[in-house]
Structures are given as structure tokens and as C-alpha cells.
Amino acid sequence: MSLQEPTPDLDPGENPDGTLDYDELAGLLGEHVIDREQHENATAFVVRPDEVETVLATLKREAGFDHCSCVTAQQYQDRYESIYHLKKYKDPTQELSVVVPTPSDAPLSQSATGVYDTANWHEREAYDLVGIEYDDHPDLRRILLPETWQGHPLGLDYNQKKPQIVPLREHANPVEERTQVPGDSDTMFVNIGPHHPATHGVLHLKTVLDGEQVVDVDPDIGYLHRCEEQMCQQSTYRHQIMPYPDRWDYISAGILNEWAYARTAEEMADIEVPEYAQVLRTMSAEMCRIAAHLLAVGTFALDIYGDFTAIFMYAVTDREKVQNLLEDLTGQRLMFNYLRLGGTAWDLPEPRDEYFEKVRDFCEYIPERLEEYHNLLSSNELFQMRVMDTGILPPEEAKSYGCTGPVARASGIDYDLRRDDPYGYYDELDWNVITDDGCDNFSRALVRLEEMRESARIIEQCVDVLEDWPEDEREIQANVPRTLKPEPDTEIYRAVEAAKGELGIYIRSDGTDKPARFKIRSPAFCNLQSLEVMAEGEYVPDMVAALGSLDIVLGEVDR
């Protein structure tokens, strides 16, 4: 027996207090690091474009960076740049960016798909919108825009007035050669979507079936790519950007999205938000989470056994209730536009007591109602048979695909930014992160149901705090200049826990009142990538169940 104190299990480059020692990390990479940059959220290592895979593999294997949160691509006057935003699932505050510059005339960079599966779609998007090419990428084609598009719209020399031609084709079977035994054609190609009730919007699944089993599924997205990043790059920080986040995840999750932008921009401009406003934000954001999860549960039941009458209607009825509360608070049912940089648009509606009473009633109502949902849904044998042990997403795969939110938590990954990277008023309140080890469609539904209970708890505690708040200290807005012009070349990546998972935003400023690059890391985009793992080898109806359990929203997938 030794008297030595047990050394905590630290990754290389990790200090005992949970911060990162960037010098040690740089030492780990040796001369691969050719330069260092300082971003607001983390230090960035600059590496050569032909060493990307080595560097990322080392960081993942030896330093524990198992979460490739986002890949940002952008064009400067003299170069292109890809940024890999790395984090750890065990502690998302330990961040590191890897910057890969490539020359303007030959933007060719090594792909990171060999290390992180999630890089696949991110790099396709970078190729599509900015025009960087990735060497060794397994499938480098356009992802959001039609395959015949000319030019890269977020590049600097793009001409938006040029005409474009978009084809409407019957799709050929992409795996015909791989799966066909000569003389015995058994596979069938099926287009599901983009107009289909089970795809939750305009998603197109190119599916190859063998009998009723899915051999290959290739989600074809971009049917709702409405240039959100361009819109934000054209708008001013102070007021014009805020309405757009409402329209990314539009399932009433608006305030959660607004918070992502508010958090990023506030940290960039050093704005201190009054505590009272943070409580208001926390309360309204959790109301949004309940509304979003209700719709997820309702449409999931609709997908599983076509239940358009009971659960779907129950869910919509309850959504009406929470939307009424949000409408009282913000004046809007769906697109709230309630947060402002440095605070919120206005205080609680008068008379306050009446509003508190309504909110309290709702918080008491939710747990009762959840019993009902459990009776109707999770204890329904039919439902159980359809969703238990289908759509399995093992935790390792989930991490590699960058899954977050309820999808990751249902695969046993204990990851929630509200607790792990605290913001707002969450760390003052008493609530739990819900996880489940089931990894299947059933667990994902359960996690969402139980998260509603926790959200109701959070709202209730917020009401307690708000009720006792002294009247003359109800400060809802910090002092923010009329025009925000952050220092040129400030770069920041910040994320919040939205309804679907980690919603991150990268902003680079150029000294004007508009961002030079605005990149959205959408949780649904990353989660959707894992559909392949969940669906291949399963039956078609199980694929539909898996898709429903991912709870994607196309506005956020396509942006």
C-alpha cells in the first residue's frame, strides 16, 4: 500500500485545474506546429496542409481531443483557411483550434475524415461554399448546393448575378456495382423525399434496398439552404443578426439559438450581461426547449405508428400552452427575437404575479402530463416493439460523428454544455443531466421526455428567483454601444446547448460593424450524419424510426 496521493487521470497538456497547457501540447506535436494564433476561445496551432491527418490523429489519440466540434472554412485576400475546432467530450472547456492555411491558387488540404467521421460533411460543405479541396476525402462533392452549381458562394470573387442551371434527375443506383451479383439484380433504389411526411421537412434520402433491408442510405440535403451565413455576414452585430437565429431551428427553439449568437458576440465584445437578464434568458430558453422536445416526441409517434390523433395532438396542445407563455413574454409565437446583445428586449409582462402564476401552473402541469406521455408512448407495447433495439448508435461512433444533445446523451455520453461549459444562470440552479445507456431509438425518446421534466424544474426555480428579485435592481440590459465594431481579426468560437445539441458559432471580425465570417455549427447537421450507422442493415421502417429519433430540423441542417 502506498501513501502517495492518487494522481488524477490527466491527458497530456492538461493542468490539474482543468485548463490546458498549450506549450505542452505544442511539444507533443513537435515541429508540425509552424505558428500559433490566439483566438478568443482557445489557442490555435497553425499546421501545414499536408500534415493535417497526422496532427489531428496525435491530438485525438494522445491528448484526448475526441470531439471535432466544427470545421470552419474561409477565404482571405491572400489565402484560404480551414479551422478545426477541437474539444473534449469529458470537458468541453478544453478547446484547441487547428488552423490550416492553403494558398489562393491551389487550395488543397489534407482531409480529416480518417480521424473524425464528422469531418466528412463539414469538409464537403467547406468545398461547396468556400471552394477548398480536401485530399483523400472519400466523397468530395457538393452537399448543400445542386451538383451543377457554378462557383463557391462564400468565396470572395463570387458573382451572385450569374445564372444557374439546376437539373431534376432520376437518380441512378449508387451502389449497383458494389452490391449486385452478376445476373442477379436484387437491390432496389428508392428516393425518400424531399417531399415526404416522414422526413421532417425537405430531406431527401437516397436509399438502396435489398428486399426490405437498407443496404445504403445517403442523405441528400440542401433543399432548405437559405444562405443563413451570408445573411449574417451582411448584417450588423448590434441588431440585424439577432432575428436570423430564430429561423435556424424553427421548432420554437428560437431563444436557444439566439443565445448562441448572444453568447458569442458578447464574449467577443466583452459585454457583461446583468444577472437579472440571465435569469430571464434561462427561463425563456427552457420554455423553448420544452416546446421543441414536445414536437420531437409528437412527430416521433407520428413516424412510428402514424399516430396523428392522440400523441401528436396532445403534443401540439401542450405546445400551445408553452407558446402562450412565450407570447406573453416576447410578443411572438415562434420567432421571438427576444434576446439583445447585453440583455433581453424587455422585462416580464405586467402584472408579474399573474404571469408567475401561469408559469407555475405550467411547471406543475408538465410532470403530470409526462406521466400521460409515458402511458401513451413508452409503456405502449407496440411502440416498444418498434423502437427498442433499433437504430443503435454506439457511443464511440456517436463521438466520432460529433453527435451532441439528446442523441449523444441517449448513447450514454454525459455531455451537456449547460453544465460542462456553464453560461446564463444554469450553474446556480439544481437540475440533472439526463443520460441513458440504451443507444437505441427508445432511449432517445426517453431522454427527451425526461429532459422536459428537468426544464420544468429549471423554470420553476427561475420563477422563484425572479419573484424575490428587488424591484429597483431589475436590470435587463447592459450598456452596449450603438454600433459594435470589434477589433479587427478577432476570432471566436462559442457554443450553447440548444434543443438538438451543441449549437456553435464562429465569428471573425474585420473591424467593421459586420462579421467577415459567420459560421454556424449546427447540431442537427452533425447528428444527421450518423443516420448511416443507425440505419444500414436495418429495415426501412426502422430507418424512418431512427430518422425520427434524431429529431432533425432542416432549417438547421441546411442553414
Binding site: L145, P146, E147, T148, W149, Q150, P153, Y158, Q160, K161, K162, P163, Q164, I165, V166, P167, L168, R169, P194, H195, H196, P197, H200, G201, V202, G222, Y223, L224, H225, R226, C227, E228, Q230, M231, Q234, P243, Y244, R247, Y250, I251, S252, L295, F312, M313, V316, T317, R319, E320, R333, L334, M335, L554, G555
Partner: protein, 236 residues
């Protein structure tokens, strides 16, 4: 007297009066349930005299099958319009159909982007005549908040003809209900909305006028492939 006895006596009494139990329960006039207010207004004649077209329009306006067609944010409000509380069904217009072949009305609830344009045109073409279009939300009117986007069609009218525009971002369910009611009114009166924009067509690639762009894509697209050509510079 026990309750059962009471009930028994009442029943016996009713039967001896020559009345059915149902009539007894419902009171007089139960058999006249087909004799509606409308029927009474007609008086004794079982015939009405009207123009066939007018009659058809009236019928059409009162029985509309909507296409289950979700695109973006507005579709959430559209779902709320169909569901409890707002219940579009009350107005004879709430049967969502998943197949365009069974639908009369298409509500377009969201931003149309270049990739979706040809698909929406295809869905619209599959609907049987007569068909009607409600454009829901600002995006379907002009592109809305995304009007300046490189990928956004500046209004659904650039692709299919529209009968009713419902403005808002998104319109409230009440607004959509009002829009649908206005459409019903229009149909009943046999009115139609004028088309003011020359829409983009789905045509074969081989039929396009040859220019630089067409030459460039000639190796990628077959002559017979259907394509939609967007002339962004001429968009409103």
C-alpha cells in the same frame, strides 16, 4: 319506487303511446334531422335552380383537401393550424393528404431555394385540376428575410401561380385560417388571381438557348434531363 321501476314504467308508457324510445329521448322532430334550415328555406319544392358552374364552385369551396407539404418555419404554424385549438377542419379544409394526386390545395409554407424549385414544380404538376395555391409567409411572397441570398427564389410565384398570399414571418394560425377562408370565398365566386410574373419553367436541357453556361455544363447534364434555369439578374 326504485329507479329501475321508474325507468321501466317510462319505457312502457312510451311504447303504449306508439313512440319509439329514441323519439322519446330526443323529443319531437328527431326524424326531421334531414330537414335542415336550408331545406326549410327552400319550402316545399325539392328543386333548386342554379347554374351548374356556380353549384360546382360552391361545392369545391366547401371541400378542400390540403397537401401535406412542409418546407420551413411556416410549416410549424401550419401544423398548429391543422391541430387542436385552431382546427382548420372546421372550415371544410382540414384533410391533409400526403400524396399530391389526392390534393386540391397546396399551402407553400416556407422559403424556396434553387434545389427545391424543380421538385416543388413537379409536386404541383402532379396535383389534379382544379388546383389552388396558398403561399404562406414572407419568403413565399418575395424571399422574405432571405431575399438577398444567393440560393433563394424571390417568391413562390416565380415557379407556380398563386391564389392567396398570407403575409407574416411566420403568419399566425389565425392568419392562415383567414387566408384559407378567403380562398374558399374566391373559389365559391369562381374568381381567380392574375399571374403577374413569368415563371421559371422545367425544360429539357437540350432546349435551352446555348450560351457560355450551357456549354460548360454540357458534359455534366444529358440533353434529355429536365432542368430549371435561374436568371438571378432578372429576378425582382
Amino acid at each position: 319506487m326504485s329507479k329501475e321501476q321508474q325507468l321501466h314504467d317510462t319505457l312502457e308508457q312510451a311504447q303504449s303511446n306508439g313512440q319509439s324510445t329514441q323519439a322519446d329521448r330526443m323529443g319531437s322532430g328527431a326524424d326531421e334531422r334531414f330537414n335542415s334550415k336550408l331545406r326549410q328555406a327552400f319550402g316545399s319544392t325539392p328543386f333548386i335552380l342554379t347554374k351548374f358552374d356556380q353549384f360546382m364552385n360552391w361545392v369545391r369551396g366547401n371541400s378542400m383537401f390540403m397537401l401535406l407539404f412542409g418546407i420551413a418555419c411556416c410549416s410549424i404554424e401550419m401544423m398548429h393550424t391543422y391541430a387542436t385549438k385552431h382546427d382548420l377542419d372546421r372550415f371544410g379544409a382540414g384533410v391533409p393528404r400526403a400524396s399530391p394526386r389526392q390534393a386540391d390545395v397546396i399551402i407553400v409554407p416556407g422559403t424556396i431555394v434553387s434545389k427545391f424549385g424543380p421538385r416543388m414544380k413537379r409536386v404541383y404538376d402532379q396535383m389534379p385540376e382544379p388546383k389552388f395555391v396558398v403561399s404562406m409567409g414572407s419568403c413565399t411572397i418575395s424571399g422574405g428575410p432571405f431575399q438577398e441570398g444567393y440560393n433563394v427564389i424571390k417568391g413562390v410565384e416565380e415557379i407556380i401561380p398563386v391564389d392567396i398570399h398570407v403575409p407574416g414571418c411566420p403568419p399566425r394560425p389565425e392568419a392562415l385560417v383567414y387566408g384559407v377562408l378567403k380562398l374558399q370565398e374566391q373559389i365559391r365566386h369562381g374568381e381567380s388571381a392574375p399571374v403577374t410574373v413569368k415563371p421559371y419553367e422545367l425544360e429539357q436541357f437540350g432546349d435551352l438557348d446555348r450560351d457560355e453556361l450551357v456549354d460548360e455544363l454540357a458534359s455534366e447534364i444529358d440533353e434529355e434531363d429536365l432542368v430549371m434555369r435561374y436568371n438571378w439578374a432578372e429576378s425582382p
